[in-house]
């Protein structure tokens, strides 16, 4: 597993510095995040509390009636340990009101709606407390497209979007995320018994080993096979990365002028910061 291991002290310094610098340079002091009870948002809460001070971090758990009660208990455990601001906001009434109009909607539509419901709540609270929404999607999820566009993928800043799930585990250990949160099986918690790895059809560890070589090291398919990866697994993962690329880009704009946003009107987001 050597290639994915990281110097956690250095990684922590970079990510904490990132949150502190990128939040404060826009003239605010606070960060807002959804705390699901899972490891990704727990790690972001730890990073944010260290960067901004626990009093400046606002975490929200937003359960639906089918959510596992253990998730909320784990979220509270993290919030209590850090001493950050914490609130539970039930999304059942809003989501059910909508799907009463569309009772035949499948699990995917329901899951996406829940993720987007939570997004609107986070952005509303970011306006209330004057803070930035912190993203909690890791690099593995982002590359596989295992997230909801404009839902859990929406944020102002994402401290963990360039680290793989295996590195999330490693850094979480180093930063003292509660053991129960680290050890449990990753789950989107959209319905009872759901786990990410079951739904994806492979483990995060295996995906990370492959993605690191495919994306970071730019190994060819032949080189990946020579490394011992199953050709079918390579193709499945490659298809997911390519097929979800639209989720990682801004909407495509039809060009008619000389200066089109992001095409030939190019500025860093930190313009003037």
């Amino acid at each position: 597993m050597g290639v994915l291991n990281v110097n956690t002290a250095l990684l922590r310094k970079i990510l904490v510095g990132f949150v502190r610098d990128e939040v404060t340079k826009v003239g605010v002091t606070k960060g807002v995040l959804g705390l699901s009870g899972g490891i990704d948002s727990a790690l972001v809460a730890f990073i944010a509390a260290e960067a901004l001070g626990p009093e400046n971090v606002y975490a929200y758990t937003m359960p639906y009636r089918t959510s596992n009660p253990e998730s909320e208990a784990h979220a509270k455990l993290v919030a209590d340990q850090l001493g950050i601001n914490y609130q539970v906001i039930e999304i059942t009434p809003m989501v059910d009101a909508y799907f009463n109009l569309f009772p035949d909607a499948n699990n995917m539509r329901r899951g996406n709606k829940m993720a987007r419901e939570r997004m609107t709540i986070l952005y509303d609270h970011s306006a209330e407390v004057r803070g930035l929404v912190l993203g909690t999607s890791n690099k593995t999820e982002l590359l596989l497209g295992y997230g909801t566009l404009h839902g859990d993928m929406a944020s102002a800043l994402n401290p963990i979007g360039d680290i793989y799930k295996s590195q999330v585990w490693e850094l979480s250990e180093a930063m003292g995320v509660p053991r129960a949160v680290i050890d449990k099986k990753p789950s989107a918690d959209l319905w009872a018994g759901q786990t990410d790895e079951q739904e994806l059809g492979f483990t995060y560890r295996d995906a990370d080993e492959l993605l690191y070589r495919m994306v970071d090291q730019r190994m060819s398919r032949d080189e990946l096979i020579a490394e011992g990866f199953d050709p079918h697994f390579i193709d499945v993962v490659h298809t997911k990365v390519q097929g979800s690329h639209f989720k990682r880009r801004l909407p495509v704009i039809a060009k008619v002028s000389h200066r089109t946003i992001d095409r030939d009107f190019r500025y860093s987001r930190d313009w003037g910061k």
Partner: protein, 283 residues
């Protein structure tokens, strides 16, 4: 001569020329207060790095009155600082100014503008065409801007042109996290600066910025390397710093006696072989 050098490991604001001028001038005054004879700033210290379409908005002509204060300050301390330079024919260069005794003594325009990975400099900037050493009150100096130093020929030319001190102004993004002690990019730079100093028997004064731009960190770690390749002072990693170090004339003299590679370097052989290679490439 022996002298004190300051490496101003600052965090410029992206596209904020006035704020950065104030930041640089304050650091210059601090250098004067602490007795430094020379202060070195990072690449694009007056503007920030990922400028993209901001390049024309933050560019300064070398005659711009906004540089007057720095020129005045250079009567008390020599200054090397990075900025976007605009010429009268509206080309924009990633340049470093060397100011001394109230005037701009030398301008180096970055030759190697990286356009790979996260870099896109040549889309926005014009390419410099010279590596020229120049005389200063500290002896002969050569200036490199970041990527320039990754081309062996650049440091070599400056050393053959008589430079005994190489200044490298840098905005190096930190990347390549692994199990090791430092970032991949920092490790690579530290090998490069030390090896360059050792090969060319030159001192290297390396100044790198810190801060974040759109999530990209700059790792700092500014350093002073003696002509034997040994680091004699190094700044903090990823944090603002003001590194003071003593440059020792005796160390240069002793190294040039001990390892007289530059004395023995045969410019004629190099020149003849380069001409042959050029001819064989069809030029």
């Amino acid at each position: 001569m022996d002298f004190l050098v300051a490496l101003a490991q600052i965090k410029p604001k992206l596209g904020c020329l006035d704020d950065n001028l104030a930041l640089v001038e304050a650091a210059v005054e601090k250098g004067i207060d602490q007795g430094a004879a020379l202060i070195v700033f990072p690449e694009l210290a007056l503007t920030g790095y990922f400028l993209k379409d901001l390049v024309p908005d933050v560019a300064l002509h070398v005659e711009d009155p906004r540089l007057t204060r720095l020129k005045e300050l250079s009567r008390r301390i020599s200054i090397a600082v990075g900025l976007v330079e605009v010429t009268s024919d509206y080309r924009f260069f990633n340049s470093a100014l060397y100011l001394e005794n109230g005037e701009i003594r030398h301008v180096h325009r970055k030759v190697y503008l990286p356009t790979y990975g996260l870099f896109d400099e040549q889309r926005y900037l014009a390419r410099g065409e010279h590596f020229r050493a120049f005389d200063s009150r500290f002896g002969r100096i050569g200036i490199l801007i970041c990527e320039d130093m990754w081309h062996l020929s650049a440091s070599y030319l400056l050393a053959m042109d008589g430079a005994t001190t190489l200044l490298c102004l840098s905005s190096s993004p930190g990347r390549g996290i692994n199990e090791g002690e430092g970032l991949g990019s920092a490790n690579a730079w530290q090998k490069l600066t030390s090896t360059t100093a050792m090969f060319l028997n030159c001192r290297v004064l390396y100044c790198n910025r810190v801060g974040y731009e759109d999530g990209i960190n700059f790792w700092g770690g500014s350093e002073l390397i003696g002509p034997n390749g040994e680091v004699t002072a190094r700044g903090a990693i990823l944090e603002e710093d003001f590194v003071m170090g003593r440059v020792d004339e005796g160390a240069l003299r002793r190294e040039r006696i001990f390892s007289p590679m530059m004395r023995d370097e045969n410019l004629h052989v190099t020149f003849r072989e380069l001409k042959r290679i050029d001819r064989e490439r069809g030029n």
